[in-house]
């Protein structure tokens, strides 16, 4: 007999987990939306940003800086590292590949992934580095209604708030700013954008920097949850079904996709997995994604591509 309290708890927990996946998926969406490049390196960027942040924080705290000063300086340092990374990627990887096919650009980001993973660990270390920026204790809600209450992790709530702020900021950026509109123009057609005077190298630097900063935000939440370590790169795989469901070009889609994946996989694991041996949540997310692909290939919120033949 499944208790209502348990169903609600798993559902809420799943939705919250989904929002955390969305934080990673947003970086993918950002770059695809603005440059048409599927950035396989987003998971590696989360690792790099997290390592830069946590290692600088450790150093600053050891040097006697107050926690708040250390956090501000640490975030500044990590943001600078992501800016340098964005410049290097633009200058040496995607820049020279302007007007090349999507597959070529995608392959180049696979190369970037391995370089970033290796370089990040070589420079900052390959241990597990604890990061404690947000509370990780829990609330127990509705204890009077359900035995044991409904458990909600405070870190998940922080993740949801941060994701909300990010989505609002990105929406304003894309819709209301000149750079945002230029990004969309570049995404539509590199060559046409260049011909009307849009500085494509600058635009691509901006978009990779924005994705790097989104990766930094994701790293603060996931680093608090897991400790900053190599396994954070696996989050990229968690973000893929989110992207397929939400659509590669939609910021709100990344959030909705995350909610569907999170809730779907947790409910499947807890209530279905126990009957068939468990361990199904990882691939169940892809089952959901495939189901959406069959019905709506561009994802729930993706732009339908219509090309003149």
């Amino acid at each position: 007999m499944i208790a209502l309290g348990q169903v609600l708890e798993v559902l809420i927990g799943g939705l919250m987990s989904g929002v955390l996946y969305s934080l990673v998926a947003l970086g993918f969406v950002l770059i695809f939306k603005a440059s048409g490049v599927f950035n396989f390196a987003q998971g590696a960027m989360v690792l790099l940003a997290g390592l830069a942040l946590v290692r600088s924080l450790d150093l600053l705290v050891a040097r006697g800086f107050s926690p708040w000063t250390a956090v501000i300086l640490g975030i500044g340092f990590a943001a600078a590292i992501m800016a340098i990374t964005a410049w290097l990627i633009q200058r040496f990887v995607v820049g020279p590949l302007v007007n090349q096919g999507a597959l070529t650009l995608f392959m180049s980001t696979i190369g970037v992934t391995f370089v970033l993973e290796g370089a990040a660990q070589m420079i900052f270390g390959s241990d597990v580095y604890p990061l404690r920026l947000f509370p990780t204790d829990v609330w127990l809600l509705f204890e009077s209604h359900f035995p044991g209450g409904i458990l909600v992790n405070k870190l998940d709530v922080w993740g949801a708030v941060i994701a909300g702020i990010l989505v609002a900021s990105l929406a304003i950026f894309f819709q209301q700013t000149k750079t945002g509109r230029a990004l969309r123009a570049v995404a539509d057609d590199h060559l046409a954008a260049q011909s009307v005077g849009i500085p494509i190298s600058w635009i691509w630097f901006v978009v990779w920097l924005a994705a790097g900063l989104v990766a930094l935000v994701a790293a603060t939440v996931w680093g608090t949850k897991l400790g900053v370590q190599f396994s954070i790169t696996f989050l990229a795989l968690k973000a893929l079904p989110v992207l397929i469901i939400g659509g590669l070009t939609s910021v709100p889609g990344a959030i909705v996709g995350g909610l569907i994946v999170g809730a779907g996989e947790k409910i499947a694991e807890v209530f279905l997995g126990s009957h068939i041996g468990g361990g199904i949540e990882y691939w169940f997310a892809y089952v959901l994604a495939l189901a959406v692909l069959l019905v709506r290939p561009q994802g729930l919120f993706g732009e339908r591509i219509i090309e003149r033949i």
């Binding site: 070589m122 990780t136 458990l151 992790n153 897991l226 370590q229 947790k266």
Partner: protein
Amino acid sequence: MLRNKLMLAAAILSGGAFASPAAAQNEQFVPILSYRTGAYAVNGVPYANGVADYYNLINERDGGINGVKLLVEECETGYATDKGVECYERLKGKGPTGAAFINPLSTGITFALTEKTATDKIPIITMGYGRADSKNGAVFAYNFPLLGTYWSAADIAIQHVAKEVGGADKLKGKKISLLYHDSPYGKEPIPMLQVLAKKYGFEFTPIPVTHPGVEQKSQWLSIRQNRPDYVLVWGWGVMNGTAVKEAAAVAFPRDKMIGVWWSGAEPDVQPAGDQAVGYKALMLQHGAGKFPVHADIEKYVYAKGKGASEPDKVGEVLYNRGMVNAMLGVEGIRKAQEKFGKKPLTGEQVRWGLENLNLSEARLKELGFEGMLKPIKISCSDHEGARDGRVQQWDGKGWKVISDWYTANQSDTEPLVEEVSAKYAADKKIQPRDCSKES
């Protein structure tokens, strides 16, 4: 630290093995299959450092094993079975006599290599991991799951739970869950725990966690609902730390969690901070800390700037385990030299040495391992050699030994070993050796 990073860089740039020593005629080739990169590097690095430092010690302090220097080459597996097999194939024929033995540090790679190593006549040492049925050397002539299999570990864990609840008779009706890495490693203890559940009458629930184990919310929400009395943790890498954190999130008492000996090192608990206090884990005999052998390592390896690890990590749990593993391999070679001569030996000859290895308390003292290990004696029918363990508990700063020694009950484990190894022999058409005729 810098050396560590350079080794990592070399591993990345070379796509696997680093150090490419030229083979010399009086050198014994010993491969190291390691993972210094990837999801499991956190645990793989200290272990590999312990192995590398001990081999280095043998060369620097003793000039090798009876004058035969160790020729070492490391190959990066990333804990991936395909890469592990690739490393094995590339390294098995190196050196004047080929690889002395192989130590994959992965149960998945062990499963993949078990038939190959028997065909190639190269021993596969799987200290504290690997196939539990390979304890039966009559069937698995080349497998050596030294010091303890997962079936022994499961038995020791249940013995400890029984002690905590007030006796084996009190296990009846208790709920014990196994949170396991969904891989050959994590699945290995399940048959033994099922046997023990039947014997003692406890309710056993296996709960898989998908590699690498970064997301465990569903598993822990299930645990919160089912409220088991104990959770056994069979994790590796990020899975361990995440399990501790998620347990804290659902307020599952950490002192009711017992990790296997691969879930009881410093990287498994330190990231969780105070949330890990109280967490328990089995010990593969040794724990953390320094013993006489460490003084030699510091004198002959680190003082010469040849250490693989950051000096402050020498003596951590997994570093020590790597060192113990290397020592057992070296002593296997030394034993084989007694019979075949003080020269580089083939894998087949080293297999004999391992099978006849007998490390007494006095010998362990000579080697500087006194206090770390109990005596171990390998034989044709017993490739495990010892099945003792203790339980340690994390107090927020370090591991503290909280139990006396347990010895896995062979009356529990042996019938399963016999049954499963006999099935393997039948499937693979292996004629088990008559151990009474082996010497």
